[in-house]
């Protein structure tokens, strides 16, 4: 119930946050929305010595940058889900953000936190992978960009180094050729996804680009590349056969809700349904 003691740093800017991370190294953790970190601290499964709070570091906000949108890392899921600019240009992201947690969680949880936590069971990684978004990471040497495809390194591990901070998320604007759907399969409404399948398809009868992001199908979030390959240049009739390959080369976890085989099965069914809805 009560976290172990820690020192608290309220960062007023990304630079201040990075400076604190540099100073404290591995002993520091970044606090954003806190909805993964604080429960772990209450159960004393996480015992950071320093918390660097970035909720007031000026990192929230959504900007139209021409061909893409720039979303500050501390922008809440609620704001992502309800923002008109995102709704207009990247509705899939708003849609997925609205499925995260529950309303209270969405009021605190942030897009940067949801991605930097690196949990393949989270809903955001799949959509960022499918959108081929870009993460902007700030460190002591300045900023660098990391494509979503290189961001998720291992279980709960991302490309963000201990002295770095995820500061922005860039997503492309989608034109009208794109359709999308997210199939989130849960035990109860509040639960994490047992498996999720996000389909993002550009099609005019013929599929020019199909992207499928999978939630909770491995130690890191992944795309169903065999399915995507099988759809490129095909008609929508190809969806069923292509979706049957959604779990190819995956190594999903086993837990109480699904063993690996059931997860693979679900991935194929949910991918098919998501793809059909995306082109429907």
């Amino acid at each position: 119930m009560i976290p172990a003691s820690f020192d608290y740093v309220r960062a007023g800017s990304a630079e201040e946050a990075v400076a604190a991370l540099v100073e404290h190294g591995d002993e520091a953790k970044v606090l954003a929305g806190g909805h993964s970190l604080i429960p772990m601290m209450r159960l004393r499964l996480a015992v950071p010595e320093v918390l660097v709070d970035i909720t007031e570091a000026g990192l929230a906000g959504i900007t139209d940058a021409g061909d893409h949108l720039v979303i500050g890392a501390a922008t809440t899921h609620h704001d992502v889900a309800t923002d008109k600019v995102i709704e207009t240009h990247c509705g899939v992201l708003a849609h997925v953000a609205a499925t995260i947690g529950d309303p209270q969680v969405r009021h605190r949880g942030t897009i940067g936190g949801g991605l930097a936590h690196g949990d393949s069971a989270g809903d955001l990684p799949a959509v960022l992978l499918a959108l081929e978004g870009t993460m902007v990471v700030q460190g002591p040497g300045g900023r660098r960009t990391v494509p979503a495809s290189e961001f998720f390194v291992d279980y709960l591990e991302t490309a963000v180094a201990a002295d770095e901070l995820l500061v922005e998320v860039h997503v492309p604007k989608l034109d009208d050729s794109w359709g999308w759907d997210y199939q989130k399969f849960t035990r109860v409404a509040q639960a994490w996804a047992t498996v999720g399948a996000l389909a993002l398809v550009s099609s005019n009868g013929t599929i020019s680009d199909a992207r499928v992001g999978l939630t909770h199908m491995g130690s890191v979030p992944i795309r169903a590349s065999a399915t995507e390959a099988a759809l490129a240049g095909q008609s929508t009739d190809a969806i069923a056969d292509a979706a049957a390959r959604a779990a190819d080369d995956t190594d999903p976890p086993s837990d109480l809700n699904a063993d690996a085989d059931f997860r693979r099965h679900l991935a194929t069914v949910l991918s098919r349904r998501a793809l059909e809805a995306a082109v429907g």
Partner: protein
């Protein structure tokens, strides 16, 4: 650390360890024990309060993070909690529709519902159920909670349909 926070309209300034959760600050430092704690994993929502007008789980916010902000708890919802005339429409509706039994989840449930109605004044049943996803109740099966939120929404819309069907009813069946 010093925490300056306005709670239910009153400014407070108190010392808090960084590790003190907002819910502990409200309960233990400020004595606002209507804010309940039902879990330690941010699931149950019993501790729901409004932080700058939005519903949050006060067990998953540090007290120091509320520094400089405004909090509304169940204690601040009524204009006068000692008389039914002073209750918030949701408090009246939960009473009239029997939207509570043991009452432990109720403050959090009402605060979540208040935010839900602030964002969507005329929600469908499905929207109400989804909007209360972050709050667990073990007593009611949620049926009368949903009815209460519907009644409060109707009262808010001024069509008078919040008058309880049950009050007039003599026997169900």
């Amino acid at each position: 650390m010093q925490v300056n926070v306005t709670v239910d309209g009153t400014a407070h300034s108190n010392e808090a360890e960084p590790r003190q959760l907002l819910v502990q600050h409200l309960r233990e430092t400020l004595g606002l024990t209507g804010v309940n704690v039902g879990c330690d994993t941010s699931n149950c929502g019993a501790c729901t309060v409004h932080l700058d007008g939005r519903s949050v789980k006060s067990c998953t916010v540090l007290a120091v993070q509320a520094d400089g902000h405004e909090v509304t708890t169940i204690h601040g919802l009524a204009t006068d909690e000692t008389t039914e005339d002073g209750w918030h429409p949701l408090q009246t509706a939960f009473h009239e529709e029997h939207g509570l039994q043991c009452g432990y989840c109720t403050p959090g449930m009402i605060m979540a519902a208040a935010d839900l109605l602030a964002e969507n004044p005329d929600p469908s049943e499905e929207e109400i159920r989804d909007g209360l996803e972050g709050n667990l109740c073990r007593c009611t099966g949620y049926v009368n909670i949903v009815r209460a939120v519907q009644a409060a929404a109707a009262a808010g819309n001024g069509d008078g349909s919040s008058v309880s069907a049950h009050q007039a009813e003599e026997v169900s069946a």
